[in-house]
Subunit: 96 residues, 7 copies
């Protein structure tokens, strides 16, 4: 994986909405418009830039399964695969 | 319950609008559009990120019954059950 | 009264627009669209969260009659009675 | 006068646009749409809340004749008389 | 001149767009829609309120000829004469 | 040149889009709608006002050729010549 | 290359969407509307201005291949070649 997100951004490998995830989250296809999605974090930035200029490391780690709003993240295609780049504040929760 | 919300977010199990809650809040179905809803907090984040980067722990605790605006929180489905993910600032009050 | 508002929110028992209040405020029904309303404060939050994370206690106290904009506060129904939840900054004045 | 405005708000007794004020400001009726109005300050709040939580006392004093934008202030009726509640930042100038 | 603007506001006596100003600025009538105007400062406020609550004195002085956007300032009429009340940040430049 | 811009503003003498600039920037007329323009800085303000009230001197100097967005700056006419007044943050780059 | 971007801006030489990049990012032409683009950084500003007025040097370096949103950056033409000027916050990730 060769994308290093900047600052408070993370790269997410989205999970198919129709597959039941390891944590049992299941979002039926018909119900999922405007619903958040889950995905696996594959790369994280160095941290959020505070007003002082210091970096605050992210809470989210590589390997976390995260729940995020469908609208914030940006879709990118790397080596033929779809990823999402999201700001950490667009991530709602970590699913364990 | 396997969802850990980030920072100042909480996970809420919504209560049916037509059931009379323990605290006696009753919102008739016909009057409830644009009205806040009640629910039970099942998981809370570590705290709100201040401008300094420090975390301020949330006031809301797991088990609290809360009153919140219908529009802020995001609906999620976990193991077939509906939950809401809200920022603490979208919670109006704790009902005791 | 079992609703504890969060932070800088207060719970208000609204006064009927057509009744003349103790302080003599009278807002005729025909003139009151887009006008502020009066009510009695029945519960207050712990204080406004400052940028530093500290809480600044509210000025408004339980028992105060307050004047507020009709549009900011949120209507809630508790034990069959109507209340309003407002941020203190939506309160225009205390009527004595 | 029984209204105590909160923080950086003031209560103003508006002057009729068609009367010539003491300071000689005259705004003809036909020219006054979208024009500011004048009024007399009858009550002031304790001060503007700074980011630190401290109060900065207002510059405007009870008795001042002030010039303000027609759109910011909120109309209220107390004991049958019309008043306006304005934030100090909506006041353009003090007329002496 | 009896208007004392508050904080970072200034009172400006506008110059006719069709007259050639002392500094040689000439804005032909047909070209002046959406163009800035010039005027003479006749009164200034005590200063801009900083986040700390301190006042920062204005740069603009009484007697300065200033160039400003037509849209920001508010028109007022004092003793039958037209003036403008502008925030200092709406002033583009001092013309010497 | 008799215009002294305030704070973080600069006065720019725009270059004709159809002339090839010294630095070789050429923007053909047909391609230039919504494109940035170049110009020469003829006057600069004293600096940007920081939150503390201090002035931070500008990076742009008199004589610099700058690239700027067409939409931010305001057109002014001085002694029959067209100039632009821009905030320094509307300047994209210095062309050397 | 003769463009020096100001502060937190960078100049990017965009890569053709239809060419497969060194890092294997391939965005087919039909899928690329509203998609981010890649490019090579050819010049960077001195740093982002913090609230204190200090400059925080950029993370992005000359030579980096970056992924950015199509909508933020501004297109410029220098010596007949197309470049983009972007704020660093508009850059999603560095591609290695």
């Amino acid at each position: 994986m060769n994308i290093k997100p900047l600052y408070d951004r993370v790269v997410i490998e989205p999970q198919e909405a129709e597959e039941k995830t390891a944590s049992g989250i299941y979002i039926p296809d018909t119900a999922q418009k405007d619903r958040p999605q889950t995905g696996k974090v594959v790369s994280v930035g160095e941290g959020k830039v505070l007003a002082s200029g210091e970096l605050k490391p992210l809470t989210v780690k590589v390997g976390d399964t995260v729940l995020f709003s469908k609208y914030g993240p940006t879709e990118v295609t790397v080596e033929g695969k779809e990823y999402l780049v999201a700001k950490e504040e667009e991530i709602l929760a970590i699913v364990a």
